[in-house]
């Protein structure tokens, strides 16, 4: 039969490891949880401080006054996103701050080809 050897548990600090281990796992996720709770408030404070220094960002308010439009945007982008996913999931996501494919170092060098194609030297 299977023989349970509790002495080995004690000798190996099994109980201590368990207690400390669970303590730390909880501490870690509790800290993350707290961080997540604080984060939006901290960002709001940050925004207020920044806004205090700068002229009122009117346009920003207008957008946030109209959640329906946002949701429509979200719905459209979701559909587009899923369509792209369906085609193999290898597409870039459509980003808010959409940078032309030329935006990054690598892409740009690639695109200089297109640029040169545009001239009559192809």
């Amino acid at each position: 039969m299977i023989n349970l050897n509790w002495q080995n548990v004690i000798d190996s600090n099994g109980i201590t490891i368990t207690l400390i281990g669970m303590l730390i796992v909880f501490s870690g996720l509790l800290l993350i949880s707290t961080f997540i709770i604080i984060l939006p408030h901290a960002l709001a404070v940050f925004d207020r401080v920044v806004a205090g220094r700068q002229p009122q960002p009117v346009s920003a308010k207008v957008t946030s006054n109209d959640p329906t439009e946002q949701e429509i945007m979200a719905a459209i982008s979701l559909v587009v996103h899923m369509e792209l996913e369906r085609c193999g999931g290898d597409f870039q996501r459509i980003t808010m701050k959409r940078r032309a494919p030329t935006g990054t170092f690598w892409n740009s060098t690639g695109t200089t080809r297109s640029l040169s194609n545009r001239s009559p030297h192809a």
């Binding site: 190996s12 939006p40 960002l43």
Partner: protein, 375 residues
């Protein structure tokens, strides 16, 4: 004549042991389950085929198996035995994981901590069964319900058990839809299973970008041993959420994770040659693994019920079961079980929060065990 003799000695028919035959059948069962039942096919097909490769009887003098120095499989297995592949897989997972559910449900994060009790109680069980501390730690991590984490910690603490632990972890992860529902029903009342949770709050793009940095610093400080795994997970996530490194996130979650998954699967499978795998230890490991999954599930559910004692907005305790990790199967099981009681109750989004928190939780757990038990 000598050549003929040399050749016949070289065929596998002579050398095939009963152990090999059993393992080959197990490999075929893995592949069959993956294809027919659709259980984690991306891992069970490679591992299953790897089991076949690892159980063709070896020929003396030829470097073929993962344990032969200089063999092709040994070079591939290097990524497993040195723990290189798991962080790379975490990088890809990070680049496809959306932490929004967690960001909008911070209190549910604790359920992902509670479920890790499976890790530590299994450790005690393994010690009681006579495993040495390093082995017990590696076995305990099966309760983390996270394949890459299990492989990483086994590679560091008990490389000789790596095959058994990896296969136990992936087997039970595949079996989550079978293991969890009975426990969930046993530990909850119908009334609890009917609880509807309030819609979570909005998460902004900025929060999603800042989260991986903050979470990494917290985890890295509190359990530096978890730094590599969680670092890669959250690095992948910031590649995704920053929106300016889309092409890197894209490659990390496609080509890169696929290549690593193929190489990890086939070489983990190939490490289970009968003489290494069919041992009494393996049977104990599988038994402990099953228990640890049950404890983890129960831990999450019971902690949700405990939290409900203090909360006004009650948590549906089923959601606690998702804390075991096994992303996203555990969350889907929660959703399915919930819908059996009330088809209009959508628990999936809520269950994703403890589910991804469970991944972080088990990586922290692994980090602690590595720190405390490393020789």
């Amino acid at each position: 004549m000598e050549t003929l003799h040399q050749f016949i000695a070289g065929t596998g028919f002579m050398a095939l042991t009963w152990g090999n035959a059993i393992m080959i059948v197990i490999g075929i069962v893995f592949i069959t389950l993956a294809i027919v039942k659709d259980y984690e096919p991306l891992l069970l097909v490679p591992i299953g085929f790897g089991i076949l490769v690892g159980n063709i009887p070896p020929v003396a003098g030829m470097a073929i198996s993962v344990y032969d120095e200089g063999s092709v499989l040994s070079y591939i297995y290097f990524g497993v035995s040195e723990g290189i592949f798991p962080p790379l897989i975490f990088l890809g997972i990070g680049a496809m994981t959306d932490f929004s559910a967690m960001l909008s449900n911070p209190k549910l994060v604790l359920l992902g901590a509670a479920a890790q009790v499976g890790i530590f109680l299994t450790l005690i069980g393994a010690l009681a069964l006579g495993f040495d501390p390093q082995e017990a730690g590696a076995i305990g991590i099966i309760g983390g319900a996270d394949g890459p984490t299990a492989i990483f910690l086994s590679a560091k603490l008990a490389p000789h058990l790596l095959g058994s632990i990896a296969i136990a972890a992936y087997s039970y992860m595949a079996l989550v839809p079978v293991i969890q529902p009975p426990i969930m029903k046993l530990l909850t009342t119908r009334k609890e299973r009917l609880i509807r949770m309030t819609a979570p709050r909005t998460v902004t793009k900025r929060e999603r970008i800042i989260f991986p940095i903050g979470a990494f610093l917290i985890c890295g400080m509190i359990a530096p041993g978890s730094m590599v795994l969680i670092g890669m997970l959250l690095f992948g996530n910031i590649l995704k959420e920053s929106l300016v490194t889309d092409r890197l996130a894209n490659t990390a979650r496609n080509a890169m994770i696929d290549i690593v998954t193929i190489l990890l699967g086939i070489s983990v499978g190939a490490s289970t040659s009968a003489d290494h795998f069919l041992t009494p230890q393996s049977i104990l490991i599988f038994a402990l693994g099953a228990i640890s999954f049950c404890i983890a599930t129960a831990g999450g559910i019971l902690f949700a019920k405990f939290m409900n004692l203090f909360l006004k907005d009650k948590i549906n305790p089923l959601v606690g079961a998702a804390g075991v990790s096994a992303v996203p199967d555990a969350a889907r099981v929660v959703h399915t079980v919930g819908q059996k009681e009330d088809p209009t109750n959508f628990l999936l989004m809520h269950a994703m929060a403890p589910n991804v928190a469970g991944v972080i939780g088990s990586a922290i757990g692994a980090g602690i065990l590595w720190t405390v038990l490393v020789k």
